[in-house]
């Protein structure tokens, strides 16, 4: 049988969403960002939101997110994405607005912007990638770095008494009356990927139904920063990150 006979529309079981651009991603092999980008793009396509979605990209590894998802974008200063999203959504309430932020961006330098956007019922989606390390700048300690976990600015392991404790910001924003849906997921297995897509869809639906802030944390791997193979990084995440950052919905109103 000729290959051309197989490549037919009716035989396609999977194809890349057109909302994802053809640009080759700059991420390290094994990084979770690419998977979550794909899920966001798929959700935007499936919900027919390409023409009305405005994304806000952060400072961090995903700073060039606007190269990969074919929608209008604003690139924020480090930590300020929720403030930009507030400005956009308040002035264009009919658009769909989301931020995509890493742990340093969202839970260290942008803590105030994160908490206050969530506390103002901002009708936006916040996507939070938590890999417990600063990937882009080369593996420094993050606000979510686990106790004992090594990073270039805590080379002997994070010592809470000296370096501070890992911040469970997702549990904090779940306390705020402005959030409607707060969940923590991962993308380490096909089932987990499907679950993450499901919660992302729900988050975007919440925004369309004007339900306040939906906050989706994805516990992620940074195998380069963690200095592990992709497979080992996934195992390490399950063994070490999940007990501290348990998966599941934290708040669903």
């Amino acid at each position: 049988m000729d290959i051309k006979e197989i490549i037919k529309e009716e035989n396609i079981v999977y194809k890349k969403t057109s909302v994802l651009t053809d640009k080759v991603m700059h991420y390290c092999p094994g990084c979770t960002h690419g998977v979550v980008h794909k899920l966001v793009a798929e959700v935007i396509e499936e919900m027919g939101l390409q023409e009305k979605t405005i994304g806000v990209s952060p400072v961090g590894c995903s700073v060039f997110l606007y190269d990969y998802i074919d929608i209008d974008w604003q690139e924020a200063a480090h930590g300020r994405a929720p403030a930009l999203a507030t400005g956009i959504k308040r002035l264009m309430p009919d658009k769909v607005v989301f931020t995509y932020q890493g742990d340093g961006d969202l839970a260290a330098i942008g803590t105030a912007e994160t908490i206050h956007a969530c506390n103002r019922d901002e009708n936006i989606v916040v996507i939070f990638i938590n890999n417990g390390i600063y990937g882009m700048t080369g593996g420094q300690m993050a606000p979510t770095t686990l106790p004992g976990m090594k990073a270039s600015t805590c080379p002997f392991g994070r010592e809470p008494g000296q370096d501070g404790h890992p911040l469970k910001i997702t549990e904090i924003v779940a306390q705020l009356p402005g959030t409607t849906f707060v969940t923590r997921q991962a993308c380490h297995t096909p089932a987990a990927v499907r679950k993450t897509k499901k919660v992302l869809k729900k988050a975007f639906e919440n925004q369309i139904n004007k339900r306040g802030t939906s906050f989706v944390e994805v516990v992620a791997t940074c195998n380069s920063g963690w200095k592990m193979s992709p497979v080992k990084a996934n195992e390490w995440m399950e063994e070490n990150m999940f007990p501290f950052y348990p998966l599941g919905d934290i708040k669903d109103i």
């Binding site: 023409e51 405005i54 074919d70 974008w73 690139e75 507030t86 956009i88």
Partner: protein, 361 residues
Amino acid sequence: MRELKLMKGNEAIAEAAIRCGTDGYFGYPITPQSEVMETLMAEQPWKTTGMVVLQAESEIASINMVYGGAGCGKKVMTSSSSPGISLMQEGLTYIAGAELPCVVVNVVRGGPGLGTIQPAQSDYFQAVKGGGHGDYKLITLAPASVQEMADFVELAFDLAFKYRNPAMILSDGVIGQMMEKVELKPQKPRMTEEEIIEKYGDWATTGKTRNRNRNIITSVELSSENMENFNHKLQAKYKKMQEEEVRYESINCDDAEYLLVAYGSSARICQKTVELARAQGIKVGLLRPITLFPFPEKPIHELAKQTKGILSVEMSAGQMVEDVKLSVNGITPVEHYGRFGGIIPSPAEVLEALKSNFLEG
């Protein structure tokens, strides 16, 4: 029909913002400018024009909300006073780098640090030399009356959109707090979504439709070559502003043998100094820069040719004087007179300073 009102400078800013069709204001309280947001909140423009007014959690958040709104092609603004403006410098350099139009009002108070809540003009350098990191400029307007506080809101927006560049209204606690008669302009409608798409659809994030590529608002560029080219583009824009947007007022300059250069409330004081000097037979003129960037270099240089001495009068330790000296380029003596820390000089003491610098000894 003319609509005249007696109001504070800060109230005039708020009233003019609503009337010129501003889409959004984001701010954080700080003395001596809190009346701007208070007036807006009391007026409730979201019920009339649809203007959004929001109190943010910090000046950092305010300026970034402005970034978000400006990126959508909306007319957005914020106001603050010196310590708050310092917090906004990060946002301002990103806005300049992303080439977004917006208006920022600084009702200056004395510094450094928490300083005083009394008026000062010690944020001149911060306003006209950039303020944040990188090579960029803010279009800087200096109102000297409550009327100009009102008029400059729309002017600042016009210039900001013309050049896709942030514009600052550099006022001070005197102009912000004092009450004067103001003629208010009639209400203009806000731009519709369709008008924004038509005018700014080539860059604003209004939603990527099928007929265009995605719009990306950003200031990041990792290629040094591209970054240098982008900086050349910015510099060309600033040069064009210097050629086309200089605004100033000259008072009694035609026969002046001595020149005062002053902006904002200092210019109001110096107007009286000119009267006092002329009553004593001393031919003094006043040049009042209205745009601090672009600075009126050429008119000052021309006046320097006919004058025996120039006194730069500021409520600072001497900031604008550097630009006056650059403009004069050594052809006549330039001195500075300033009070600071919240002290406002009297017209008589400015005259004494002029005399002691140029007429005595």
